[in-house]
Structure formats: C-alpha cells, structure tokens
Symmetry: C2
Subunit: 73 residues, 2 copies
Amino acid sequence: MANKEDILIRFGRRVRELRAERGYSQEAFAHECELDRTYVGGIERGERNLALRNIERIAETLGVTLAELMKGL
Amino acid sequence: MANKEDILIRFGRRVRELRAERGYSQEAFAHECELDRTYVGGIERGERNLALRNIERIAETLGVTLAELMKGL
DNA sequence: TTGTGACTCGTAGTCCGTA
DNA sequence: ATACGGACTACGAGTCACA
C-alpha cells in the first residue's frame, strides 16, 4: 500500500529528490525558499512536520504544483 | 494565475467542497478526523496554516490521496 | 450546524555553533 | 555540502464558551 511509512519521511525524500534534480545544494535551496538551512535539512530527514505555507513555498521554488509535489505520497 | 489567492483560503475551500460532497457536517467530519469541530471550521475558513500530518489525516478521511487533495491549488 | 475570540501548550521555524 | 545540537521566539495544535 505504499502508505505505511511516515508521511514526513516520504515528503522529505520527495523534496530531496526534486531539489537534487535541479542541482540545488540544501543551502542554496533554503535561500531560494527563504527558509533556514538547518530547517530544510530537517525537512529532508523527515524530522519536521512543516505547515502548508512552507509546503507551498517549497513547491514554488521547485517549480512544481502542490499536486505534483505530493504525487505518490 | 489562479494562484494569486492565499493558499489557506484555497485549501479550506477545497476541503469544504470535498467534505460537503460526502455529506458530512463539519462536526461529523471532525469526529472522523479526530480533530476538534472548531478547528476544522477554522481550516475551511482559511484561518489555519495546518501542518503536513493534519493535512494527511484530512486526505485520508476524505478518501483521497494528497495529490488529489492538492489538485488545482 | 457553523462562526468566533480567547486561551494553553507544544512545536514550527530561526540562529548560533561543531564536526 | 550536509548532519546535528542548544537555545531561543513565533506560531500551529487543540479546546472552550458563547453567539
């Protein structure tokens, strides 16, 4: 069912994939998002239960829609 | 375009639509989600910047994937 | 049946560092 | 370039009485 694993882990992995595809470092990406470097790291490690506004910022910075960002999660 | 309006408002409207389609009252829906009635009301009114775990609970209760829930937002 | 203000408490989110 | 920790502030989580 693909949905057993924690949502934060799955989301973090997805963000990391998309960020890396785009050739961003965490730091550069965080700067684009106007989020803290250590916070983005925490998100990618699945340690952060981030809220909708920041999810949207991340989607925008990655250049995907929210639906695309959530695809498969 | 279509993306100028605040994400919380758009998300809230989407939740309200899907909930109403399913014939839930806010109260019944909140009970299914194991969330407070007034909290769900706040979400639907776009007043709550809810975090990923609660977004997931809502998607589950509505019987849609996260990607479907975010569709068009 | 839903809206709203006010509230407590935990955590979202920032900033400093070390490795 | 990234992980991780401590200490901090702002805001999300969650509840209530009342309209």
